[in-house]
C-alpha cells in the first residue's frame, strides 16, 4: 500500500537552534498514529514544520506526501494537497467571521477547478447547509459562525473550532496537536466522535497528546515516543498504557541507545 506521509531523517531548527534531529515516520492511509513525548521534545515543531511555518527552517531530510515533495510547497499548497493541522494554540483574527473564513478556506481546498483553471466557489446556501450540519455534529452553537475567527473563544471552543475546520476540509492527513488539552470531559467525547466519524481507509491521523485518555476514544494503530527531537520508541496502543504506568524516565532508561545525544 502507498504511504500518506513519509518523513525521512527530518532536521528542523528555529532561530538557529536545532530542534528536530532526524525524525523518521511512515504513515499509511487509514492509520492512526499517536505521538507522545515530554514537553519541549519537538512534537509541535514537527507539526509546524510539516504544515510549512516559515519560522521553522528545514536543515535536512525529506517529507513526501502522495509522492510529492512536501517541503517544496507553501503552506497553502500543502493544505490544498490535503494536509491539515489542528493547532495547539489557534490564532485569533479579529474582524473576519468564522463563516467567511471557513468558506474561503473551503473554496481554496475543496473548490473544483472550472474550465478556466480557476476554482469554482461553492454556492453560499449550499455551504451554509454543510457548515450547520458539521456544527451540529460538534454541538457548536450556530452563533459561532458569525463570531470573529477564534477571537475571544475559550480554550475548548478553539479546539472545537479546529475540529470543525477539519471536518469541513476532509483532509488526507490530519495532525492533531494536543487537541485534547483544554477540553472538558463531554467536549473530549464530542470532539473524539467528530474525529472518529472521519476515520476512513483513505485518511490518516497523527494525534499528538500527553494523555492516554483521548486514545481511549481515538484508537491508535501505532504509538511513538518522541524525545529530544527524535522518535526513540514505537509500538502499538499498549505503549501508551505502559507510559502511563511507568512514566518517561523509566521508559527512557530501558532504551539502550538513549542518552548518547540522540543520533
Amino acid at each position: 500500500m502507498s504511504t500518506s506521509l513519509s518523513i525521512k531523517d527530518l532536521q528542523v531548527s528555529i532561530d538557529d537552534k536545532l530542534i528536530l534531529k532526524g525524525l523518521n515516520l511512515e504513515v499509511k492511509p487509514g492509520e492512526v498514529h499517536a505521538i507522545m513525548g515530554p514537553n519541549g521534545s519537538g512534537k509541535s515543531t514537527t507539526a509546524y514544520a510539516l504544515a510549512g511555518h516559515p519560522a521553522y527552517e528545514v536543515e535536512g531530510g525529506e517529507v513526501w506526501m502522495d509522492g510529492v515533495n512536501l517541503l517544496e510547497l507553501s503552506p497553502d499548497e500543502r493544505a490544498q494537497m490535503g494536509l491539515f493541522l489542528c493547532f495547539q494554540y489557534p490564532t485569533a483574527i479579529p474582524g473576519i467571521s468564522m463563516a467567511n473564513f471557513l468558506r474561503t478556506s473551503y473554496n481554496a481546498v475543496k473548490g473544483e477547478e472550472g474550465e478556466d483553471g480557476k476554482k469554482k466557489p461553492i454556492p453560499i446556501a449550499e455551504f451554509r447547509k454543510k457548515l450547520l450540519e458539521k456544527m451540529d455534529l460538534l454541538k457548536m452553537d450556530k452563533s459561532f459562525a458569525r463570531r470573529y475567527l477564534n477571537e475571544g473563544f475559550s480554550g475548548g471552543e478553539k479546539k472545537r473550532a479546529e475540529i470543525l475546520q477539519m471536518t469541513l476540509l476532509e483532509p488526507k492527513v490530519a495532525i492533531l496537536d494536543e487537541t485534547d488539552s483544554g477540553l472538558d470531559i463531554d467536549a473530549l467525547k464530542i470532539v473524539s466522535e467528530g474525529v472518529n466519524s472521519m476515520l476512513s481507509p483513505e485518511r490518516a491521523f497523527i494525534v499528538i497528546t500527553h494523555y492516554q485518555r483521548i486514545l481511549d476514544y481515538i484508537k491508535p494503530d501505532y504509538v511513538h515516543i518522541m524525545y529530544n527531537g527524535q522518535i526513540i520508541l514505537s509500538g502499538g496502543p499498549e505503549l501508551a498504557l505502559r507510559l502511563e504506568d511507568e512514566g518517561y524516565d523509566n521508559i527512557l532508561k530501558s532504551i539502550p541507545q538513549n542518552g548518547n545525544g540522540g543520533n
Binding site: A51, F87, T91, I93, P94, G95, L169
Partner: protein, 470 residues
Amino acid sequence: MAATVDVNLDDYKYGFSVPENYAFKAEKGLSERIVKQISEMKNEPGWMTDFRLRGYKHFMERPMPQWGGQGMLNTINFDDIYYYIKPVGADKAFESWDDVPEDIKNTFDRLGIPEAEQKFLAGVGAQYESEVIYHSIIKDLEAKGVLFLDMDASLREHPEIVKEYFGTVIPPEDNKFAALNTSVWSGGSFIYVPPGVHIDLPLQAYFRINAQNMGQFERTLIIVDEGAYVHYVEGCTAPTYSTDSLHSAVVEIIVKENGRCRYSTIQNWSHNVYNLVTKRAQAYKNATMEWVDGNLGSKLTMKYPAVWLMEDGAHGEVLSIAFAGKGQVQDAGGKIVHAAPNTSSVITSKSISKGGGRTTYRGLIKVAPDATNSKSNVLCDALILDDESASDTFPYIEIENSNVSIGHEASVSKVSEEQLFYLMSRGIEEDTASNMIVSGFIEPIVKELPMEYALEMNRLIEMEMEGSVG
C-alpha cells in the same frame, strides 16, 4: 463625441480622462480678478462676492501650515492650477442623465453613478470640474420639503437660507485652505431636511476632476432640522496625471435638536491630487453627528472632520479609515469640541500603510469649562504592512473641566506572521490571506456603512493592496 482616452488603467481603474470640452476655463493661477470673475459669471449677490474676497485676502496672507504633510504642501505650485473650469452645457444642473453632455455622462456611467442611483439612492448630485452637471432627488422627498440642490442653485433659489448659514460653521478666515475654498468655491451640495423628516436612503454626491492641473473647490452646506435624519455620501475620483491637481472643499453642517446626520466619504482621488479639506458640524441639543471618512486615494490628504457639541446631550462620532500606499501621505483624524454639558463623542481611526506610504492620526478632543459630565473615547489603530511604511499618532487633548471621562487607546501593529500562517495553513493563498487580515482590521468601521458602500470599500482596499497605484 471623441472616444475616451485611457491614461493609466493599470491599478487605479478611475484614472481615465476624456478630451477637454469647456465653455469657460479661467487662466491658470489665482488673483483677485479671477475671484471677481467667478462671482460675476455666477451672477452672485454682493455679499457673496465680499465673502469670496475676504477668503482670498486671508488665503494670500496666511503662511503655509508647517505641520502635517508640510513637505508635500510646500511643493504645491498655486500658480499652476486652474481655479475654475466650466464644462460645456453646465449652465445649470440637469435633472435627467439624457440631457447631460455625452462625454460627461459616459464618464459617470463608467463610475457607476446612474446605476447606483436607480438601485439604492434617494438623490444624486454629480459635479464635473467646477460645476454640478446633474442633480436629482426622488419626488416624494421633494414633496416633504427636502431641498437637495447644488450649492450654486441654492444661492440662486434660496438666498435667504444660504445667507443665514453660509460660513457660520467655518468662517472664511478659519484656515488657509478654507479661505482658498471661500474665494473660489463652485459647486457642492446644499441640503435642507425639514423637521421630523427621515430620509431612509442615502443622498449621494460624486465629484469628478477631468482636466489636468485642475483645482476643485466645492462647497457643501447641510442643515438637518429638528428630529430629522439624513445620510449623505460623497465619492470622488480623478484621472492620473503626472502633474498635480488640488481639491480643497469646505463642508458645513448644522444638526438641530434631536436631529441626526451621517456623512460618509469614500475618497479615492488619483495619486496626483492634493486633498486639503475642512469639514465641521455643529450638533445641538441631543443631536447626533457622525462622520465616516474613508481616505484611500490622493497624494496628500489633510482632513480632520470636526464636531462641535453645542448643547446638552449632543453626540459626535468620527470613524476614519486611511490607506496610504507608495508615495502617499494620509494625515487624517478628527476633532471634537465639547462645548456643553452631558455631551459624548467617539473617534475610531484605523489606518493601513503599505509600500512606503505614511499614515498619521491627528486628533483633538477639547472640553470647554462648562462641559460637565462629558465623555469621550478615542481609539486609533495602525496596521503597517512592510518595513518601508510608517505611521504616527498625534492625539491632542485639551480639558478645562475636571468632571469628564476621556479614554484613549492607540495601537500600531504589523500583519502578524502567525495570522498569515494560520490562514495559509487552511489553503488560503498569501495575497488573499493578507487581504483578509486587512479587511478584518477595518471591519469595525466598514460594518457601519450601507452594504453597497461596505462592498465598495472592501473592493477598493483590495485594489490598493494589489499594487501601488500609479
